[in-house]
Point group: D2
Chain length 426, copies 4
């Protein structure tokens, strides 16, 4: 299914006047505060967030999975789904593939399809946390960290294969999420596991094409419940340094211990020029993979404050690979992703409203009350009309979810794909 | 120091037009959504939050305390400080005393002073977590839970004394925060400590005047680091039930384990008619006692959603004793309290914007996306002009902190009290 | 496969002398301390822990499952597996069935088999967290708490069916673990969900046969990631009280927020006569379902201290339903269960060594150092020879795991069942 | 007060025979397992743990402090107290001074006193988290990270002063614990604070004498409640690398987020040759500073497993500065320290019993069950007679606390110092 501009614009007509009015009102207030609203809008227009291919079907937990209807059953349909998101928002202009779930059968066809929907290929993701049919070795006891050289080699080769697939599609980076670790004290020798991992990553790194980056994810627990080899940003950062200039850390918002100050980690990595990518989601307890901004929107704003600051001040840091990484257990995945995209744009917009000069001055004066007022002034501003304006400028939907529902997209997908289609993935 | 209306109105003139404009714009939008804006404003005007007497001086940590200037040195000055807050906001119309830090020397004088500033006497707080000079027994190993009958009796009598003091001032409730617990496994017999506590509370309860309530606070840890007798809402609820109809649980936002869903506790207690009071603050790690809304404003909003729902639907639950309980280690305490009051009003206003009928319908349809949209629509609304309007209607400050600063209140207090005055308390 | 006594005794011969020597040495020391070693041994001999039928196959996480070999493929084989555990330990003399995974086809056959292995039928477990094939309604949005009366009725009826199955087998209690909750703020009305749950539980309760108990489990999160209807012991306790005398709370060690003092909860529930059952496992992060005692053995000991105290002093509390509830993702499930059984016996034995009179006196004297010394004296004692002695007395294995390996049980099971057999369940 | 050998040996006579019997029995069992018991004993004899000067008086919390009797009132008395501990255990042969609380008035006298008690001067600790009387600048808003160059300079100079004091006493390392951070979002610019800290540390480092090391502590929160500049091991490690070869990370057990795998951090730092020191204590909730081993003794054992492994295999890592860092709010500080010393020796002894070759083999075979058995076999062994034997060999107390009590040390100290003496410090 493909949405075209006129469908979207028809839906926009209802609320166009009121949103323009709201925008003008807000822009006027911001203007008086000295904020360059056009510059903000432009940045919102330029934001591109990759959609992971596995997020288009229903997710689940270890206690089971409730299926959803009209799920995409192959890579083409996944890209079409992202096309719908992109048609509505212009923010979803990239896809992040997961190998082996998404190996293209017809590279040219896939590229042409993506191209027709203005979708580019973002980071490719390897998978060494599950065994694949016909695999020679099992990753039950680890992959890149495994004690067995053969198993490590299989995992390294898989990553190289993923790079090769990505290269054919135009990807420019490889994301390595390593589930390796242990569930019981004594199961692993921490140092051996770390050394093996470092060496494996270096070998993968040596196969990285020019202009590619390698993004190293970290996570404290799950699926292993005692230790994880790359348990925190410090370990990821250390490994990225060991690999070289093209290796970076990747921050997934759900991959931290309780109460962790994530925004400070973001800031440190950017200062060191080592923040490569970002996985957005939200969580209350662990790696809950909930809709972005659904639980702790203020933390998201604080993170964007660091991102905005870093993108301006840390020229040593590369452009970030932005991605949503959520699991859609209960909601329509496409609606869930639209809510996530909206939350990202909202947090980004609000962070752009922070008067950095005033903030700096208040900080220098130790005027903590003022510092808080400045952040909260930006945060309390209703920026929905700004985000909508950015979409209007690009012929996108004022209200993506309403439009999605009005156009009965899910019904259409069910018609096309059948009710009980199931997406590949977890 | 006392602020008068004209001082405040002078300050208001600068921004009156723009805030009225903002209010009208927002009210118009809300009106179209079917929201009775006047009713919202009225509720905001009627909110009264007690200021704890100990919050007017600088707080500290176990690593030390950095003093602040112009702190109130006696109860009269504390009430004057609250008078300043109330003059600016009309929300701070009550004081919550802590005994023995705030025993009045001249009851009539204190009452007259409070009355002149439109300040009432909210819950009185007992203190059995510290030893007082000349006390016969030490609370080092517990108070109401102590193995020694004499020590328990001293603590019970102290609570009765506090009730008597409160009665003379017009208070209607006693808040019991019990630090009792243990720092090492084996130190306490849990059952004995619980039984002692239950019996002590019952004895205090039996001394409660008619029309009084007893509020039982809970907290998982600190100052004891292994166990706390009243460790959670379940224990508090159980004890309140054991005492009788006038005993209730009190929720302090910082008194929960990591990741706890506090709003659900609030909802359960209101449903059972057992939520008696509320201590507002914010925290990231433990009982951090930070400014309300400074860390997790969305959680605050969700809690207010439950409070608004309960106040409407749970007629079995009494009127709540609202209080701020924060520790002002770094900021000017009065500015900090103004930020807290603002955050409470903001969260309350946003919760009042939730369309409960629509929400109920979306819930019945399992339309989770819609449920989230409804909450976020309310939360994303910029309600600052509503909160300001409520204050304008009451001749209060449009922007309390700006006015406080413009009127150089702290300088005046320093002049009056001297630079190095120190408040009684922790 | 069935182990017979002579096989086990053959294995015991190797270490019999040295273990008897160790036992005598330890018993002598304990005797001098005034401990009745024979009484301890007798209690260890009498302990019976139920094995959940789902724990006999390999578990997994949401990221996948690595299969194990020779898993039981039907209820008969599951009971045979427990028979192996019981033959080795005598502690595993009960099975806890999970319906619908374990509905017997031949009740008499199953009963006869269990009887022949000295296995009784402990609590039966209902499942309303997954949809079953051919089910009319889905539990995607809740079961006992669902807004739909029809769905609640289906879930209630399922519980009644489970009771009926249990009754035919000789079970005496029903365990209700309710996954119901929400993953997003606003998704549920907390009060409605609680009321629905209370009413549903009452209806199930009204169908409870005489002499049966209903055990209500609680859990803070997972599979729902924002709220869970029965989130903590307080809610479980409240619901058990609402249902009646035969309703109790069930504590699963993994179902608590970080840092929670579980032993205090155990103590409170026993004091109130409302602790009905116990699910043993261990965890570092969440509901990790690891081998009992593998992560926090001292906490396990402290919990057993409360259990031992409560079993002696709280006659108002019923006999407990003891059960292991772990997930065996990496280890041989039978070996894992043997380690769990050993850890439970060890913690129990150590708790039985605590001199309660001395402890009480030290507590009354506020001699915290002494209290800790008393607990640590018991904990630091090497009780393995006591636990082994209890098994020797019952013709069981001195070292169950060594014997299991020496007798090549897993190989036999693979021969019987085939390598790639898969157990029903998650 | 000074204990002499004959006093201690008199006390030992009572239990000498039984402890020797116990030792022989245990040694015999261990010998059969191939463990070199003499080597273990020798290592236990050689362990030296520094006692921090501030731990000899009663600690407190922000809610107050309950005093203890007979506290040391000056540095001489503090060193005498450590002399008592050392006389009883031989493990407490070092003191770690905190400046400015412990500036010697008479260097030669202090050195002579310490020398007479066989006490050496371990790491010296600077204090930039409190303001000192007559200090020109306040650290309210930070010290080494402060925006003000003057304040940073004052803090740097203080650290240099501390080095100078340490040098006069024979210390060889400086411990920097930096409380700097922020309590509110926006208060600090994370990058600026980090850069300032790095530069300040480098300047201190440049003043480090040859043969000295600088130990950089980390901590996630408290006394700041939103962010801490050196929040985790990753930041500490990064800063140590930036400073140079003589800069190391220092691990304090209580300075981690909930559920953190500390032993893995220890392992990583040793592998990188960057673990410089260790602060022992225990905790359940935060930086609770409880007696070592009182809450999570198995975790302590797992940490010692890594330390033992690292000390053998990581020759790149320097000798560690071992220290206890606890707060004695309720117990007699000297008894509390004796319990901590015992817990450290116990964990060390158990870790030394691990058969590393067998463990390695089990790990290579992915025999997780066996790995766990190996660790638990060591952990479950009652090593108290080994620890006692090590003390007997050195003419120390078999049971230090019993001896301390039998010799009525505290009474003597009260006699000498008066009941209400108060130690300098927090």
């Amino acid at each position: 299914m493909k949405l075209n501009k006129s469908q979207i614009q028809d839906q926009n007509t209802k609320s166009l006047n009121s949103i323009e009015e709201h925008f003008n009102f807000t822009a006027n207030i911001l203007d008086k505060k000295g904020i360059d609203v056009n510059a903000v809008i432009k940045k919102l227009q330029n934001l591109k967030v990759a959609i992971p291919s596995w997020a288009l079907g229903a997710g689940g937990t270890r206690f089971g999975r409730f299926s959803f209807f009209g799920e995409p059953t192959n890579l083409e349909q996944k890209i079409e789904d992202i096309g719908v998101l992109n048609a509505l928002t212009h923010t979803a202009g990239a896809v992040s593939l997961h190998i082996p779930w998404d190996i293209p059968e017809d590279y040219n066809g896939i590229k042409a399809l993506a191209n027709s929907l203005n979708i580019t290929f973002d980071a490719v993701n390897s998978n060494t946390f599950q065994d694949q049919k016909n695999a020679k070795h099992s990753y039950k006891f680890g992959s890149l960290s495994n004690n067995s050289k053969d198993i490590r080699q299989q995992a390294i080769q898989h990553n190289i294969d993923v790079i090769n697939i990505g290269e054919k599609l135009g990807s420019k980076s490889l994301t390595v999420w390593l589930a390796d670790g242990s569930s019981f004290p004594g199961q692993n020798n921490f140092q051996t596991a770390l050394i093996n991992t470092e060496n494996s990553l270096k070998e993968i790194y040596s196969n990285l094409p020019k202009n590619w980056t390698m993004l190293i994810e970290y996570k404290p627990f799950e699926p292993n419940f005692y230790s994880t080899v790359i348990q925190d940003w410090g370990t990821s950062f250390m490994l990225a340094n060991a690999c070289g200039d093209k290796a970076y850390s990747l921050v997934d918002l759900g991959h931290h211990l309780p109460n962790c100050n994530i925004e400070q980690i973001v800031s440190t990595l950017m200062y060191k020029g080592k923040l490569g990518g970002f996985h957005f989601n939200d969580s209350k307890y662990g790696d809950d993979d909930l809709t972005v901004g659904s639980i702790k929107p203020y933390t998201l704003f604080l993170i964007f404050n660091e991102l905005v600051y870093g993108m301006k001040n840390n020229t040593q840091n590369p452009d970030l690979a932005w991605m949503i990484d959520a699991s859609h257990n209960l909601k329509d995945p496409l609606e869930d992703l639209l809510q996530s995209l909206e939350a990202i744009q909202e947090a980004y917009a609000k962070a752009l409203l922070i008067n950095q000069t005033e903030l700096k001055n208040a900080q220098l004066n130790n005027d903590i009350v003022k510092c808080q007022e400045i952040l909260q002034d930006a945060y309390r501003t209703d920026v929905r009309s700004l985000v909508a304006k950015a979409r209007i400028n690009l012929d996108r939907a004022i209200n993506p979810i309403e439009t999605y529902r009005a156009l009965k997209v899910r019904n259409e997908l069910i018609k096309e794909r059948g009710k009980n289609s199931i997406a590949t993935g977890l």
